[in-house]
């Protein structure tokens, strides 16, 4: 089964932390070295990937147009789905990045009786949105560990997230959404026939990793508990570049941290780079103005063509017979 190896890989990572921290006491390794290394791999790797794409030219102007073009003045163009200028492109990209607009259009194709039907199928869009937005909120919430005095917007988001005021410590809504979304994204890969057919082991690994991160976070907050002041001291040591081992933090925290580090280090070398790639997609980030503004291909080279002169040489007599004018009699 394609999910088994990635699952075992994540289990192995967890066991590695337990062995390293609990048994061997390698706090410096797991608390300092690993996060630093992961951050470095992420930053350098991400830059490397983006620069590599950047160095590859866009030889042709190939936006996918999803609305009326700008042509005659009395026909209303669709400036967002078929942008004719930078403004439209920016809006199109923002809608794509923040609202997954294209995914929202998803329809499920089915044969019903004699007719093909296209039923609204928002579940992928919904789970994608739920996952990415809850992840973003969670990341922002975690910034309270990264600033000596916690910025007000971070506090505001934290308040909003715990607004239900359930339990002590209060339940974060995003924790529930995150785990539910990741679970759904996993379930669709093992149950929906078409999705199952396209899934690779590499699709399961990040899901298990994310689930592990979410689960360890939830365990740490709502069940086993750790000394969050100690955690913040460790993190502040890392971000102020004065790393120090802090004693008395439970192993569950190191599991959480190690899985996050793995995710970051894995990010640039996997499909997760779509986060950066979406901005560079030539079908989305170009305006549909190729008949108005000349697009230059940097590697364009002269090609061998069959010239008119050669053509006329081939057909001169026939052309004359048919009354078609020729250059040379």
């Amino acid at each position: 089964m394609k999910a088994l190896l990635p699952f075992l890989a994540v289990v192995f990572l967890v066991l590695l932390v337990i062995a390293g921290v609990k048994a061997a006491g390698l706090y410096f390794v797991f608390g300092v070295l690993v996060p630093y290394a992961a951050a470095a791999v992420f930053l350098l790797g991400f830059v490397y990937r983006v620069v590599k794409w950047g160095k590859t030219p866009v030889p042709f102007h190939i936006p996918t147009t999803c609305g009326q073009q700008k042509s005659l003045p009395w026909i209303k163009p669709n400036g967002i789905e078929n942008p004719s200028g930078t403004g439209g492109v920016v809006i199109r990209m923002l809608l794509e990045v923040f609202l997954f607009r294209s995914l929202f259009k998803n329809r499920k194709t089915k044969m019903k009786g004699e007719y093909l039907t296209y039923a609204w199928a928002p579940w992928l869009w919904l789970s994608g949105m739920a996952f990415h937005w809850s992840f973003l909120f969670i990341v922002i919430r975690h910034l309270r560990f990264f600033f000596q005095s916690v910025p007000v917007p971070v506090q505001a988001i934290e308040h909003l997230d715990s607004i239900l005021n359930w339990g002590v410590p209060a339940l974060y809504i995003t924790d529930v959404i995150f785990l539910a979304a990741v679970t759904y994204l996993f379930l669709r890969r093992v149950t929906l026939s078409q999705v199952k057919a396209i899934t690779l082991p590499a699709d399961f690994f990040p899901l298990f990793l994310l689930f592990g991160i979410g689960a360890s976070g939830v365990l740490m907050r709502y069940y086993t508990r750790v000394d969050v002041v100690g955690v913040k001291e460790l993190v502040m040591g890392l971000v102020s570049l004065h790393p120090a081992v802090v004693s008395g933090i439970g192993t569950i925290f190191y599991i959480h941290l190690f899985l996050i580090s793995t995710l970051f280090a894995y990010f640039p070398w996997s499909k997760l780079v779509h986060a950066g790639g979406v901005f560079l997609s030539p079908t989305r980030n170009l305006s549909n103005n190729s008949r108005v503004v000349r697009h230059v291909n940097p590697w364009s080279y002269p090609v061998k063509v069959h010239t008119y002169e050669e053509y006329e040489d081939d057909f001169r007599e026939k052309m004359k017979m048919a009354g078609v004018p020729v250059e040379r009699e």
Partner: protein, 558 residues
């Protein structure tokens, strides 16, 4: 030609439930009716493409060069460095599956390898193996695999089961356009002489003779003469088109299919009648006698080589601007590629309608205007006398061509024109028109005879939407602005929705066009008797008919 499957059997054979074996472990079968014959040596030789030899795709030995793997991998490396689209699209797909059931070939076959994402994976798996560290280290676990003969045959099979329609890219959250992968895939296959003859034949024809069909200049002239005769019979008016005439204001370029066989020829008659009525100062060219470009289905370089003739001829003849006929992929290329390939066309002027004075600012640099833009502008300015009742025997729907839809955004122009010339217009369901339109099933050079089953399967989604409006509103005419549509949808309709005919919009324009000094028309362009005596249609009545058409169109959108 392979035997056509029975309609019921074909429908029953389609299942969207994925088979038990993973696609990577499923060997590729090259099935009769589902593939096109390999490119012949002589066709490849005309344009100097490599590994020219006669070969048969169904035979074990494809007569490949010794170092074919190396050629392919190096070719891929070169293209990864040349096309950001390719590199990016190979890198960032997350296999979410949104595209899976958006492809007409998947809808018509249920074959997982026709899911756009898997067609991409065919190349992505090889890319991983040779160009990414995880692929090199983890191999199959990372979804990587060696380029072997099985994989090569799989590429060949499925890159020629994609019509580069770009419907997948509409639904992809990152805009991944699998046409880009198919285009690169076909380029790579061409490095090994693995084109199909249905593409390579037209390419070599077009290179030497100026058009896909290989029509020589005298044949073009005589074909047009035949149409001119038919127009005279119909209207009593004699038209005198010119060829290769220097000093004309406009060069007219259209796909050669319009010159050759019906229903394209009726569309062509429509152009001739319209231009005559306008007194347009234009010329045909026998050298640039092809708007379409099968080179694009071969390689970027080949496409550029064929496309070069249009600007070259415009320059030689000294025209001011270029007008382009109804065609799909021709317009994708004119719109998105031509200027980049063979521009700048600084010897031309920005297109300006000599009739209305409208300057086509949207063609400012390319200097080529789509005839549907040109005609819509004429109608908006009331420059044409039209009698839409002459199309009253038709209940019309409009098929948006993939290329003009997703590569341009020509949606309202043809609808505006249609609503001016016919009174019964119905839209197909919203999920099958405009940017979500379905391919005819035979685009990108797959409109051969030997792959008929593939074409019919690929045409199912489009045909099914036509069937819907045929059943609901008695639609009997499928209008379009693409030469390949005109030919292939006719076949598809005969099979899937008998009773629906296919026409270019300008055929219907010519039906409705009241020409100065014409005799009373008894028939439409096809010789079908007109429904009733002509009635003068008041502007108000037309407006009402138009509003009704829109209302009904709205219902069909449910």
């Amino acid at each position: 030609m392979a035997k056509e499957p029975k309609k019921e059997e074909l429908l029953q054979s389609i299942s969207y439930k994925a088979p038990k074996t993973f696609w990577m472990d499923t060997p590729t079968e090259i099935k009769p009716g589902m593939f096109c014959w390999g490119a012949k040596a002589k066709s490849l030789n005309v344009v100097g493409l490599p590994n020219a030899r006669d070969w048969n795709p169904t035979e074990e030995d494809w007569k490949l060069p010794e170092n074919w793997q190396e050629i392919l991998i190096e070719g891929l490396r070169e293209r990864l460095d040349k096309y950001r689209s390719l590199r990016l699209f190979l890198d960032i797909c997350v296999r979410c599956g949104a595209c899976a059931d958006k492809c007409h070939f998947y809808i018509g076959t249920g074959d997982p390898k026709n899911m756009p994402v898997v067609r991409g994976e065919l190349m992505r798996s090889v890319y991983r193996k040779y160009f990414t560290t995880p692929g090199k280290v983890f191999g199959k676990l990372a979804g990587a695999r060696e380029m072997d003969l099985q994989v090569l045959k799989e590429w060949w099979t499925y890159f020629f089961q994609c019509t580069e329609c770009r419907r997948c890219s509409v639904f992809c959250p990152y805009g991944i356009d699998h046409a880009e992968i198919t285009i690169a895939g076909r380029e790579l296959l061409n490095l090994l002489g693995l084109n199909i003859e249905w593409i390579q034949g037209p390419v070599s024809n077009c290179y030497m003779k100026g058009n896909h069909l290989g029509l020589e200049p005298q044949t073009i002239v005589s074909n047009v003469e035949f149409m001119v005769d038919d127009i005279e019979t119909l209207t009593g008016i004699r038209i005198n088109p010119t060829f290769n005439r220097k000093g004309a204001e406009i060069l007219f370029v259209t796909p050669s299919g319009d010159l050759f066989a019906d229903p394209g020829t009726y569309t062509c008659m429509g152009y001739l009648m319209l231009f005559h009525e306008l007194g347009l100062d234009y010329t045909w060219s026998t050298y640039a006698s092809e708007g379409g470009n099968f080179g694009f289905f071969t390689s970027n370089e080949m496409a550029k080589r064929l496309n070069a003739k249009i600007y070259a001829e415009a320059k030689r003849l000294g025209v001011k601007w270029i007008l382009g006929g109804e065609c799909g992929h021709m317009w994708r290329l004119v719109h998105q590629y031509m200027d980049t390939w063979n521009g700048p066309a600084d010897f031309l002027e920005v297109p300006k309608s000599p009739i209305t004075g409208t300057v086509f600012e949207n063609a400012r640099t390319t200097k080529m205007t789509h005839i549907i833009e040109f005609t819509a502008d004429l109608m908006k300015h009331g420059k044409l006398k039209l009698d839409p009742s002459r199309n009253d025997h038709l209940k019309v729907t409009f098929h948006d061509s993939c290329n003009t839809s997703r590569g341009m955004g020509v949606f309202e122009e043809p609808r505006f024109v249609l609503k001016n010339i016919c009174r019964n217009f119905y839209e197909m369901p919203r999920e099958t028109i405009k940017e979500q339109t379905f391919c005819c099933g035979s685009g990108s050079g797959l409109n051969a005879g030997e792959d008929m089953e593939l074409r019919l399967r690929g045409g199912l989604a489009r045909a099914n939407a036509v069937k819907y409006v045929h059943d609901k509103h008695d639609v009997n005419m499928l209008a379009n602005i693409c030469a390949i549509d005109r030919a292939s949808l006719t076949t598809s309709m005969n099979y899937w929705v008998p009773g629906v005919t296919v026409a270019g919009v300008h055929e219907l324009v010519a039906n409705a066009l009241v020409m100065k000094g014409e005799k009373k028309r008894e028939t439409d362009l096809r010789g079908e008797p007109l429904p009733s005596a002509e009635e003068e249609i008041s502007v108000e009545a037309r407006a009402v008919a138009q509003a009704e058409g829109e209302k009904l169109g709205g219902e069909a959108n449910v």
